[in-house]
């Protein structure tokens, strides 16, 4: 029982850490270079502007969606569904 909880927590932590790093990269990494990325223009949008106005937002939604999906799987694997 204790071991199972330990393993579940370790996997949760690894997933959380990976996604937080991805989030850090999108939020601060990409934004830092917005001035440079703005040189690229797609459909009238300078890319740096587009990422901050729409792109990053959609990526955030995808991160949460992926996290929920993986956690659902993990919970099913460890049998913690029945709350």
């Amino acid at each position: 029982m204790i071991l199972k909880a330990e393993l579940h927590w370790r996997k949760t932590r690894r997933l959380t850490f990976t996604l937080i790093c991805l989030w850090l990269f999108i939020t601060f990494g990409l934004t830092w270079f917005a001035r440079g990325i703005n040189e690229v223009v797609i459909l009238g949008f300078p890319l740096g502007f587009y990422m901050a106005a729409q792109g990053a937002l959609v990526l955030y939604l995808l991160i949460i969606w992926w996290y929920n999906r993986q956690m659902k799987k993990l919970d099913a694997e460890f049998g913690v569904e029945n709350e």
Binding site: T16, T27, T31, G44, Y60, W65, Y67, D75, V80, N82
Partner: protein
Amino acid sequence: MFASLTRLQRYYLYYTGGFLSFIGALAVLEQHGMPPRWIGYAFLCFTISMYALIGIACRTSDVSEYYVAGRRVPAFFNGMATGADWMSAASFIGLAGTLYLSGFQGLAYVIGWTGGFVLVALLLAPYLRRFGQYTIPDFLGARYGGNAIRLVAVAAAILASFVYVVAQIYGVGVITSRFVSLQFEIGVFVGLAGILVCSFLGGMRAVTWTQVAQYLILIIAYVTPVAILSYNVTGNPVPQLVYGQVLQQVTKLENRLFQSPVEVEVRELYRERADLYAQKIMQLPQSLNFEREQLSTQINQLKASDAQMRDIVALERQYRDLPRDPEQARVRWENAMFSAVDRSKTPIHHAEAFPGETVEEQNIMRVNFLALIFCLTVGTAALPHVLTRYYTTPTVRQARESVFWSLLFILLLYITAPAYAVFAKYEVLSHLAEIPITKLPGWVAAWAKIGLVSIEDINADGILQLAELSLNPDVIVLATPEIAGMPYVVSGLVAAGGLAAALSTADGLLLTITSSLSHDVYYRIFRPDASTQFRLVISKSMLLVVAILAATVAAQKPGTILSMVSWAFSIAGSAFFPALVLGIFWERATRAGALAGMVVGILLSIYYIIRVEFDSIPILGISGFGMEPWFHIQSTSSGLFGVAAGFMTIIVVSLVTKQDPRAASFLNTIRFRNGDGP
């Protein structure tokens, strides 16, 4: 088709249909000559009475219903309610206006306010739900133990929520004073009545179901005018897809207008005025005496000649309005100088990231942009009124899903806001700049009357130059339907949406403040034996006191909506984020560490705001304590230092104090449990 829907979904579908037909009916009535004022009243009465009806229908005196809506709110609807709870007057009224005025720089709010939900989803929501009590101080109290931490948490929650709720009520005042012509101060109290009906009767349960209703109204109201604008300008009603093209046209207009000789001349005139004020400030107090003497000789001269009475009266008023003493003169002239300096600057291009004339200036902009994002994300993940919303779902899994729905519903508005700003700018640049001042449309005068728009023909050529027009950011969204010449029913709809946004957030905040007071302070600390009935009585009377206090502060118009909100975020982030995250992810965090970290975080954050933003507090009689910002960081991002200091303090103090043996078992219950735990 309807059979597959749940009862709740059906209710809200009928409700949305009803609201849409109400708008349709008003549109038809307007065609037949219904006066705009009545349309304003109709929207105000209809929406507020809907909220009141839902509030009354959901009234409750059960403790669990009152604090966490009985934990029966499905993920989808909880997401919608969180959306309304989250999107305040600042998002609805202030965001597009800020994007209009500062272009790319305003996008920090868009990124920050959505990015924060990733932190909520990954780091907090599931653990808070698994813990499953009523408030955030409850969680901190259980994790670290002891009443001291509970009290600090309550103080921080109340401080941040109160600053935030003042901003909401201020928004209500702006809307009611413009659209139903109530006096600002009276409008504030009318809105307050609407807020109280819900939270007073039914606590979290009533607030939740009202917030869902408010979300539907606010999103319809936000998207409609932009869609109409988008259709008129580009022929495509989906603004989010096509505003790239409009942005290009805006850039072209900007290139032409910014460099035109008249604009340059007007900016030069403002620079001269700024210099003049700077000189006058330097020569205080002689300059004030000189001005006084000059005016009085002028008046005497006029009186001696047979000048018109009107001119004399005007001069005499000028004389009376002169600053009374050098101190007052300094404050007033400094303000005039700063506003002139602002207008003398070359405007920035809308899409340019981190604008600045030198590389150093650009870097300052960049650092501030990232710092603001940091504070807003962390603040989002630490505001108690949002976090408590994840206590209301039935299961942990639904709490996780609910964050997804929250962000989706919030995105709908945040993806539209940049489009809103670009379309509004297009309208102003192409239809308002360079027209004769006598031919300005009616909305300019209407908004000028409540002081949110100002126009000054500084070069006296009778034509409006861009630099001569100054718009308060809070105007853009509310005025865009009028700017683009849409029927008044759209303006009424937007006002109703703004009201819904402000009321729903104010509801959530007031409930947080009062449950902190009645549940955490009164019940947990002073009278654990209090009966449930009595706890609710306490809670409701607190609600009344706090609401009236907040309205009184808001009636003083303390600042723009957005800056007030940013301070609240910095304060909340510094207080809660390090203690919550380390509390969940680091077993070694101890009570002493958390306590020290929270106190250091809040104090540093407030200290920074006060010393950077203000130079004197007249009421306390102290002055001259202003300081240069550290690393050029603005006061709105004070949370950057607060959060960093908070994390460091918790880690250092925890490592030198003894670990609490109960922490491990508590963490076990919130990290992993399969039904047989406590």
